[in-house]
Amino acid sequence: MTTTLAPATRETTATTKAAPRTAARTRRTAVAWLFLAPFTLLFLLYTAIPAVAALGFSLTDLRGADLRTPLAVNFTGLDNYLRLFQDDSFLRDIGNTALFVAAGVPLTMGVGFTLALALDSGIQRLRGALRTVFFAPVVTNVVAAALIWQYAFHPDGTVNQALAAVGLAGPNWLDDPDLAMPVVVLLGVWRNFGTAMVLFLAGLQAIPRDVYEAAALDGAGRWRQLRYITLPLLLPTTLMVSVLLTVFYLQVFDEPYLLTDGGPLGSTESVALYTYHQFGAGQFGMSSAASFVMLVLVAVVSVVQFRLLRSRT
C-alpha cells in the first residue's frame, strides 16, 4: 500500500506545485512577446519579408515597367545570377568592395586604436573634450560631410590650395580613377574612426591597472606592456571592431554615392552602389540578385569572423 500510494502522493503534490509555476512562466512568455512584438513586426515588415521577396524577384525578369502589372513577370531561374557574374562591372565592383574592406578596415582600426591609446594614457585632462572632437565625424550628417570633402578635393579646393602654397600642382582627385578610391576610403575612415576609438577606449579602460603596475615593477617598458598586456587583453574588442567595420565596408554606399557616384570609370562603385544603380535603371530582377549576393557575402564573412572571435576569446 505504502509503495503504491507514495508515488501517487508525490505526483499530486508535484502537479499542484507546477500549476502556478507554469502559469507564471506562460505569463512571463506572453509579456516577453508583448515587448518583442513591435520589433518583430517591424523586422518582419521591413527586413524579413522584403528579403524573401527580393530572393523571389531575383528569380524573375521584373523591371520598372512591370510596376503597372506586377503579376505579369516571367520566372527566369538563375538567369539574373548568371548575367551578374558575366557582367564585368559587377566583377569590378566586387574587387572595389574588397579594396574598401582591405584598405578601410585596417586604416580605421589603426587610427581609432592610436587615438584611444593616446587618450587612455597620455592626455588625461583633455580626454573628454578630445573624445568629443574625434567622435564628431561619426555624428556628422554624411551628406554634409561629403559636400565638405567634395569641396576640399575639388581642383580649386582647399587640398590643392594647400599644395599650391608649397609649390605643388594638385591633381583633380575625384576625376582620376587612381586617386578617387583613396579619397573615398579616407572619407569612410574619417567617418568611422571615432566609433573604433570609443570602443577601443572602453576596452582599454577595462584592463586592470594593477596588471600594468606589476609589469612595470618587473621592469617591462611601455612597448612590452603594449605588446604583452594591452594587445592580448584587447583582443575581444579588436575582433568585435573588425567585424563591425568589415560589415560596414562590405556594404559601403554613402561615401562612394555622395562623393563620386561610383566614378570615375566605375573605379569607386561598390556592390551596394551597383545594386542601387541597377534598381534605378529599372532592372529589379538584377538588382535583387546583386543584393542577395551581397547578403550572402556579408553573412559568410560575418560567420567566419564570429567563429574566429569565439575561438580566440
Binding site: V52, A53, L55, G56, F57, L59, T60, D61, L62, R63, G64, A65, L67, R68, T69, P70, L71, A72, V73, N74, F75, R83, P155, N172, D175, G263, P264, L265, G266, A281, G282, Q283
Partner: protein
C-alpha cells in the same frame, strides 16, 4: 512556440521565395500588342466640370496656377488642383501612384523620357480632334506616339544649341562653326582669345551625356532603333559620334575634370570656359551668374549645332501632358490640356516662366521673337528627332553615358564602346517581353 531547426528555417525561406515567385508569375504576361487600342470619346466645347487633379514636376509647372486663371474663369464649375513634386522623384511617385490606381486626372511627362508610360494600360489615347498635331514641333508630337496612337500632347519645348562667348569670338575673329570639322578649331580659337577651355562640356557621364551622343549619332546619319524595333547602336555612325564627343577632350578644348554641373555657368561667365552645348534656360541665368544686368546681351551668342555628315539634327525635349487610364475626370482634363496648348496660353507660360512654346506659331509672338538669342533654338527645334519610344531607353542612354567616359578619357576605343553599348542594349531589350 516550437523552436525551428536551421533546416526548417531554410525550407520555410525557400518555400516563401518560391511561393512569391509563383505568385508573381502565375498569371503570365499579357502580350502588350494584344492590348486594345481604346479610342477616346471626342471632347466637346462645353465648359469643363468637376475636379481635375494635376500632377507635375516642380519647375515649369510652378506658375500653372497663374497661367490657367482664364481657364478657371471660363469654366466656373471646374476645380483644378495641382500637386507639384520635386523633379528627381517625380516619375517614381507618378509610376507608383498609377500602378496603385491612385494617379491624378492629368499628369505631366517629359518627351525625352516618357516612353515607359506610352501604353493603353497607363495612359488614355489623345482624343481625335482635341488638338492639331501639325501645330506642334513634329518630333515633340512624335515623342508621344506609339503604334500610331498618340498618348501625350506637347506642352513646352526645348532642345540644345551652341551657346558661346561672342566677345571672345570677335576677338579671335571666328564665326560659329556649322560643321563638325570646324567645331574644335572654333573652340581652340576661343581658347586662344583668353578662355581656359573652349568648351564647358557636360561631364556627368550619365543619361544626359547618353542623349548627347545619341544626337551626334543622328547627325552622323545613324539611327538608334531599327524599323523592326531592334537596337542599332553598334554602327559606324555611333563610332563617329563617340569619337566626335571625345575629340573635345583629346584636343584639350574641353576638360574631363570639369566644370561640374553647378560650376558650368560661373565658369562660362568668368571665361574659364567659352562655349556650352546646352538648353535655352541658360540664357536667362547668365546675367545672374555675372551679377550684372545686360551682360548676356553683350557677351553671348547662340548658334544651331554644327552639322555632322547627315545634318544638324538635335533632340526634342520639354514637357507634355497625358491623362492616366484611371482618370475619373478625363473629359475636363483634356479640356485643360487643350487650353494649355493654345498659342495664347503658351505665350502666357513663356512670360511667366520662360518655358518655350511647343506650338510653333506661338514663337511669332513679339515677346519671343524679340529675343535674338532664342533664334538658334527655334531653328534647331525645326530639326529635331524624338528619342526611341521604348521602355528601356533611359537605361540604355545612362549606360551610353558611362561608355562615353571611357572613350573621352582615352581608356577605350569608340568601336569597343559602341560594341559594349549594343551588347548592353540587347541584354535589356526594348522593354517588351
Amino acid at each position: 512556440m516550437p523552436e525551428l531547426s536551421r533546416r526548417d528555417a531554410l525550407r520555410m525561406t525557400a518555400g516563401m521565395a518560391v511561393l512569391g515567385t509563383l505568385g508573381l508569375t502565375g498569371c503570365g504576361r499579357e502580350n502588350a500588342t494584344t492590348a486594345a487600342k481604346a479610342s477616346a470619346r471626342p471632347v466637346d466645347d462645353s465648359p469643363a466640370t468637376g475636379t481635375v487633379s494635376v500632377w507635375a514636376a516642380q519647375g515649369d509647372a510652378n506658375v500653372l496656377d497663374k497661367v490657367i486663371k482664364p481657364f478657371r474663369a471660363a469654366n466656373p464649375d471646374a476645380t483644378v488642383t495641382f500637386t507639384l513634386i520635386p523633379n528627381a522623384e517625380y516619375y517614381t511617385k507618378l509610376q507608383s501612384a498609377i500602378a496603385a490606381g491612385k494617379g491624378p486626372d492629368l499628369a505631366q511627362f517629359f518627351p525625352e523620357s516618357q516612353a515607359q508610360f506610352l501604353d493603353p494600360s497607363t495612359l488614355r489615347p489623345v482624343p481625335e480632334g482635341l488638338v492639331a498635331p501639325d501645330d506642334f514641333f513634329t518630333s515633340l508630337w512624335d515623342a508621344g506616339v506609339v503604334g500610331g496612337v498618340a498618348y501625350t500632347v506637347p506642352w513646352y519645348a526645348y532642345t540644345y544649341a551652341l551657346v558661346y562667348r561672342s566677345d571672345l569670338a570677335r576677338k579671335a575673329g571666328v564665326e560659329a562653326p556649322t560643321t563638325w570639322g570646324a567645331t574644335v578649331p572654333f573652340l581652340k580659337a576661343l581658347q586662344g582669345a583668353g578662355a581656359t577651355r573652349g568648351l564647358g562640356a557636360d561631364i556627368g557621364w550619365d543619361v544626359f551625356n547618353g542623349q548627347d551622343v545619341a544626337m551626334y549619332a543622328w547627325q552622323a546619319g545613324g539611327s538608334l532603333v531599327s524599323s523592326a524595333g531592334r537596337w542599332t547602336l553598334n554602327t559606324p555612325a555611333m563610332v563617329d559620334a563617340l569619337e566626335y564627343n571625345a575629340s573635345f577632350f583629346t584636343s584639350k578644348a574641353a576638360d574631363t575634370g570639369g566644370p561640374a554641373f553647378l560650376d558650368a555657368q560661373p565658369y562660362f561667365v568668368s571665361g574659364k570656359t567659352a562655349a556650352m552645348i546646352t538648353g535655352p534656360w541658360v540664357i536667362g541665368q547668365l546675367d545672374t551668374a555675372a551679377g550684372k544686368s545686360g551682360w548676356t546681351a553683350s557677351h553671348v551668342a547662340t548658334a544651331p549645332l554644327p552639322a555632322g555628315a547627315s545634318g544638324r539634327v538635335s533632340f526634342a525635349a520639354g514637357g507634355s501632358w497625358g491623362v492616366p487610364a484611371d482618370s475619373g475626370n478625363a473629359d475636363a482634363a483634356w479640356k485643360l490640356v487643350r487650353y494649355l496648348t493654345r498659342p495664347s496660353s503658351q505665350v502666357a507660360q513663356y512670360r511667366a516662366y520662360s518655358s518655350l512654346p511647343a506650338v510653333a506659331s506661338a514663337w511669332n509672338d513679339p515677346a519671343i521673337k524679340g529675343q535674338p538669342l532664342l533664334d538658334a533654338y527655334f531653328t534647331q527645334l525645326k530639326s529635331t528627332r524624338a528619342f526611341p519610344r521604348v521602355g528601356t531607353w533611359q537605361q540604355v542612354a545612362t549606360r551610353l553615358g558611362k561608355e562615353m567616359e571611357a572613350v573621352a578619357k582615352g581608356r577605350q576605343s569608340a568601336a569597343k564602346a559602341a560594341a559594349n553599348i549594343q551588347a548592353y542594349a540587347e541584354s535589356v531589350g526594348t522593354g517588351t517581353k
